[in-house]
C-alpha cells in the first residue's frame, strides 16, 4: 500500500509463539502481563462490565419515566439510580474507554514502539482502576448516593443520607489510574517515536490521545482535591463549603467545573482521533488541513480550561463573569467546528466506502454537530437561563458523550478489531448495528431537546402528563439503542471463534499499526519500522485521488470470502 513497506514483506499472521494472544497462556500470564496490548484487553473487559452497570441504571430510569407517575422507583431510589448512572458512565466508562482500550493498544503500534514508556505502571493503573470500580460497586451495594454525579455542596456535605464518602473515594482512586495512564502516554509520545516519525507526521489519533493526556494530567488532580475537601467536610465537619460558618458552596462549583468541563474534552478528544483515522481510510483521502487538525486539538485542550463558568450562569455569578465565560465558550467551539469542516472536506472527492466503521464515523459527525451547536445555545446566557437544569442540557451532553464518544468507541473497535484479534467482524451485522445506533440514539435524545425547551426539568421521577409523549419516545428509543449496543458485543464475541482470519492490513490503511501482522507479535514489529513520510498517504500529495478510475468497491478490503 504505502511505499514505505512495499519492499518489506509483512506476514499476515504471526506464528503461535509470537502472537501476543497465544505467546503465554494461563490466567497469571494475563493478570501479571506488562504488554500494552494485553492490558488494553484487560481494560476492555473491566470497562465493559461498568458499561453494563451504568446502562442498567439508565434502563431503570427510562423505564420509570415511561409513565408520569412514580410507579417503579421512589423519588429517593430514582435519585440513587441517576447518580450511579452518572458516576459509573463518566468515570468508569467514558473517561477511560477510548484512551485505555484503543489508546493503550494502538498508541505504541502507531508510533512504532515496542510498548508504552512505563509498562509496569500501565499494569498498576489497571489494578487501581479495578479497585476504584469495586469501591463504586460497594457504594451501590451499601445503599448508593443521591447527590447526582456533580456532588454539589451543601447537599453532599451536610444533607445527603447516601454513602457520599464511598462514592467520592471511588472517583478519587480512579483519578490515580487516569493520571498514571496519562503520564505514560505523554512520555511514550515524547520519547518512543520511531526514527523519522516527527511530531507533524504523527497520526491524528496519537495527537488526540496526547492532547487528552495533557488535560488528564492537569485537570484530574483538581477533582481529587475537591473530593478530598468535601470528604473532609462531611467526615470531620470542617467549614470550607458551609455557608452557615462563613464557607462558600459556590467555591465548590468553581473548582468542580474547573475539572469537569475539561473532563468533557477528556471524553471527546480521543473520539476526534478515531474519526480522523476512519474517515481518511474509508474515503481514501489525505486528511484535509492536517496541521489545523493538530492545532485545533491543542487549542481545545488549552481553552477548555477557561470556560468552566458556563455551568454556573444561574449560580449568582456576576454578569461580567457570565459574559466572559460565554464568550470563551464560543471561542472553544471554533476548533471543534474546524474539525467537523475538515472531516467533511476530507470526504469531498473521496472514494467513500460505507463499511461499518465509516457509518459510525459519519454518524458521529452528525450527532457531534448537533451536540456542539446546542452547546452554543447553552453558552449564550439568555438561552441557558431558560433551559438550565432541563432535559435540554441532558440531551446536549448526551449528544456529545453518547452520540459522539460511544459511536467513536464502537467505530474504532470495529476498525481496529482485525488488528486486535486477528479476526474479521461480520460486516452486514456491523452495518446494521451502526445504522441502528444512529437512529436509536436520535429517538432517545432528540425528544429531550423538545421537552427540555418546553420546561421539563431534569432529575425528577414524576412529570406532568403533557410531557409523556416525549418520554415514551425517549424510552422506546432507549430500547433500540440498548439493542444497538448489545448487538456488537454479540457479533464481536462470535467473530473471535468463527470470524474470518484477518490479513495484516485488511483496509489498506496507511498507519504503522497496519505494518505488522494481525494480531501483532508480542514485540509489536519484527523489524523496527522507520518512517519517511507523513500520515494518511492515500494518494500523492497536492493531487486529489483519481476521480475517474475508482477502485472497485470491495467490502472488508476485498478479501476472498
Amino acid at each position: 500500500m504505502s511505499g514505505l513497506t512495499a519492499e518489506r514483506a509483512i506476514p499476515d499472521r504471526p506464528g503461535r509463539a509470537e502472537n501476543y494472544l497465544t505467546a503465554e497462556t494461563g490466567l497469571a500470564s494475563w493478570l501479571l502481563t506488562t504488554d500494552h496490548k494485553r492490558i488494553g484487553l484487560l481494560y476492555m473487559a473491566a470497562i465493559t462490565v461498568f458499561f453494563f452497570l451504568g446502562g442498567a441504571a439508565a434502563f431503570l430510569l427510562r423505564l420509570e419515566l415511561f409513565t408520569p407517575e412514580g410507579d417503579l422507583l421512589s423519588a429517593d431510589s430514582y435519585n440513587r439510580a441517576f447518580t450511579f448512572h452518572g458516576v459509573v458512565m463518566v468515570w468508569f466508562f467514558l473517561i477511560p474507554s477510548i484512551p485505555n482500550i484503543l489508546g493503550n493498544f494502538m498508541l505504541p503500534l502507531m508510533i512504532g514502539a515496542k510498548d508504552l514508556a512505563f509498562p509496569r505502571l500501565n499494569l498498576i493503573s489497571w489494578y487501581i482502576f479495578v479497585a476504584a470500580g469495586l469501591i463504586a460497586v460497594y457504594t451501590l451495594v451499601s445503599g448508593g448516593v443521591d447527590t447526582g454525579w456533580t456532588f454539589y455542596t451543601p447537599l453532599t456535605t451536610a444533607f445527603s443520607n447516601g454513602n457520599v464518602l464511598a462514592a467520592a473515594a471511588a472517583v478519587f482512586v480512579a483519578g490515580f489510574s487516569t493520571i498514571a495512564t496519562a503520564v505514560n502516554f505523554i512520555a511514550t509520545v515524547h520519547l518512543l517515536r520511531a526514527p523519522g516519525l516527527t511530531w507533524f507526521r504523527l497520526p491524528l489519533f496519537v495527537w488526540a490521545i496526547y492532547a487528552t493526556s495533557i488535560v488528564m494530567v492537569l485537570a484530574t488532580p483538581v477533582l481529587a482535591m475537591v473530593l478530598l475537601l468535601i470528604s473532609a467536610e462531611r467526615a470531620f465537619g470542617i467549614p470550607i463549603f458551609d455557608p452557615l460558618r462563613g464557607g462558600d458552596p459556590i467555591l465548590f462549583q468553581h473548582l468542580f467545573w474547573f475539572y469537569s468541563h475539561p473532563a468533557v474534552y477528556i471524553m471527546i478528544l480521543p473520539s476526534f482521533g478515531v474519526i480522523s483515522e476512519v474517515v481518511t481510510c474509508y474515503a481514501r483521502r489525505r486528511v484535509f488541513g492536517y496541521s489545523f487538525m493538530v492545532y485545533a486539538l491543542l487549542w481545545i485542550a488549552l481553552v477548555g480550561f477557561l470556560v468552566w463558568g458556563h455551568h454556573m450562569f444561574v449560580s449568582g455569578q456576576s454578569l461580567f463573569a457570565n459574559l466572559v465565560f460565554s464568550f470563551l465558550s464560543f471561542v472553544v467551539a471554533v476548533p471543534s467546528a474546524i474539525k467537523v469542516f475538515n472531516w467533511t472536506a476530507t470526504l469531498y472527492r473521496g472514494q467513500i466506502v460505507f463499511d461499518a466503521p465509516m457509518i459510525y464515523a459519519l454518524g458521529f459527525i452528525g450527532l457531534f454537530t448537533i451536540g456542539g451547536l446546542t452547546g452554543l445555545f447553552l453558552a449564550s446566557v439568555p438561552v441557558d437561563i431558560h433551559v438550565t437544569d432541563t432535559y435540554f442540557v441532558v440531551a446536549h451532553f448526551h449528544y456529545i458523550m453518547v452520540g459522539g464518544a460511544v459511536s467513536a468507541l464502537y467505530g474504532g473497535l470495529s476498525y481496529w478489531w482485525p488488528k486486535i484479534t486477528g479476526r474479521m467482524y461480520p460486516e452486514a451485522w456491523a452495518r446494521f448495528a451502526a445504522v441502528m445506533m444512529f437512529f436509536g440514539f436520535g429517538f432517545t435524545f432528540f425528544p429531550m431537546f423538545i421537552m427540555g425547551f418546553l420546561g421539563m426539568p431534569r432529575r425528577y421521577h414524576v412529570y406532568p402528563q403533557e410531557f409523556q409523549v416525549w418520554h415514551v419516545l425517549a424510552s422506546g428509543g432507549a430500547l433500540i439503542l440498548a439493542v444497538a449496543y448489545l448487538l456488537p458485543m454479540g457479533y464481536l464475541a462470535w467473530s473471535l471463534i468463527w470470524g474470518r482470519r484477518a490479513i495484516a492490513n485488511p483496509w489498506g490503511a496507511t498507519g504503522l499499526e497496519w505494518q505488522t501482522s494481525s494480531p501483532p507479535p508480542t514485540e509489536n514489529f519484527d523489524t523496527p519500522p522507520v518512517v519517511v513520510q507523513g500520515p494518511y498517504n492515500y494518494h500523492p500529495e497536492h493531487e486529489g485521488p483519481p476521480a475517474m478510475d475508482r477502485e472497485p468497491h470491495s467490502p472488508q478490503g476485498g478479501q476472498p470470502v
Binding site: 506488562t34 505504541p108 514502539a113 515496542k114 510498548d115 508504552l116 514508556a117 512505563f118 509498562p119 493520571i179 496519562a182 503520564v183 505514560n184 505523554i186 512520555a187 511514550t188 515524547h190 520519547l191 518512543l192 494530567v217 492537569l218 485537570a219 484530574t220 488532580p221 483538581v222 481529587a224 482535591m225 475537591v226 478530598l228 475537601l229 473532609a232 470531620f236 465537619g237 470542617i238 467549614p239 470550607i240 460558618r245 462563613g246 464557607g247 462558600d248 467555591l251 473548582l255 474547573f258
Partner: protein, 208 residues
C-alpha cells in the same frame, strides 16, 4: 551492570533515564494542580476574611514551622547529593546520604506531630469549642489541617520511596545507575517546595 537496569521498550539506558525523569516531571505537574486547587480555596477565603485569617495565622506555632523549614531544606541537600552520587556510582556516599535524608524526614514528621499535639491542646481543631470567636478563623484552620496533613502524607510516601531505594542499594538489588534515584530526588524536592509555599501562608501570614 547497565544491562540489568535496561527495561523493555527502551533501546538505551540514557533514553530510559530521560523517560523516568520526564515522566516524573509530568506527574509533578499533576501534583502542582492538586495543591493549587487547595491553595486557590485558601486564597479566596483569605481575601473574603482578611482579619480572621490574620488572627488565626497568629495562633500557629512559628517556632515549629521554622525548624521544620530548616530541616526540610537540609534534607533536600542530602537528597540531591544522594542522587548525584548514585549517578556517579559512589555507593558509600549514596547510602549515607539516603540514610541522612530519611533521618531528616522522620525528624520533620516528629516535629509536626509535636505541633499537632499542641494544636489540639489549644483547641485549634475546627468544630465546637474552637479557640477563636470569628467563624472564618475555623476556615483558616481547616486549610491548615488539610494542607499540612496532605503534605505529611506526601512526606511519608517520600520516606517509603527513599527507604526502599536505600534497602535496594544496600543489598545491591538495584544498580546505582538506575534512574529511580534521580526520580525519587525530584519527588523529594517537590514535597520540599510545597512546604516552601505552606510555610509563609500558614505561619507568617498575620505576623508581618
Amino acid at each position: 551492570m547497565s544491562e540489568a537496569a535496561l527495561h523493555k521498550p527502551w533501546r538505551s539506558l540514557r533514553r530510559q533515564r530521560e523517560a523516568a525523569e520526564f515522566g516524573l516531571w509530568v506527574f509533578l505537574a499533576s501534583e502542582v494542580m492538586f495543591f493549587a486547587c487547595a491553595l486557590t480555596g485558601y486564597a479566596v477565603n483569605r481575601v473574603l476574611w482578611p482579619e480572621a485569617f490574620a488572627a488565626a495565622a497568629r495562633e500557629t506555632n512559628v517556632l515549629y514551622g521554622t525548624i521544620n523549614t530548616g530541616i526540610l531544606l537540609t534534607s533536600s541537600l542530602t537528597m540531591a547529593v544522594a542522587a548525584e552520587s548514585a549517578r556517579a556510582g559512589l555507593r558509600r556516599l549514596t547510602l549515607v546520604c539516603l540514610g541522612v535524608t530519611i533521618a531528616f524526614g522522620l525528624a520533620f514528621l516528629m516535629v509536626k506531630g509535636l505541633e499537632y499535639a499542641e494544636d489540639i491542646e489549644k483547641h485549634l481543631v475546627p468544630g465546637p469549642g474552637f479557640r477563636l470567636d470569628q467563624p472564618a478563623a475555623q476556615i483558616f484552620f481547616a486549610f491548615y489541617w488539610l494542607l499540612t496533613a496532605v503534605h505529611a502524607l506526601h512526606m511519608t510516601i517520600g520516606l517509603c520511596l527513599v527507604g526502599t531505594l536505600l534497602a535496594q542499594a544496600w543489598r545491591g538489588s538495584r544498580p546505582l545507575s538506575s534512574p529511580a534515584f534521580e526520580a525519587a530526588g525530584l519527588y523529594w524536592h517537590f514535597v520540599d517546595l510545597v512546604w516552601i509555599f505552606l510555610y509563609p501562608l500558614l505561619y507568617l501570614a498575620g505576623r508581618s
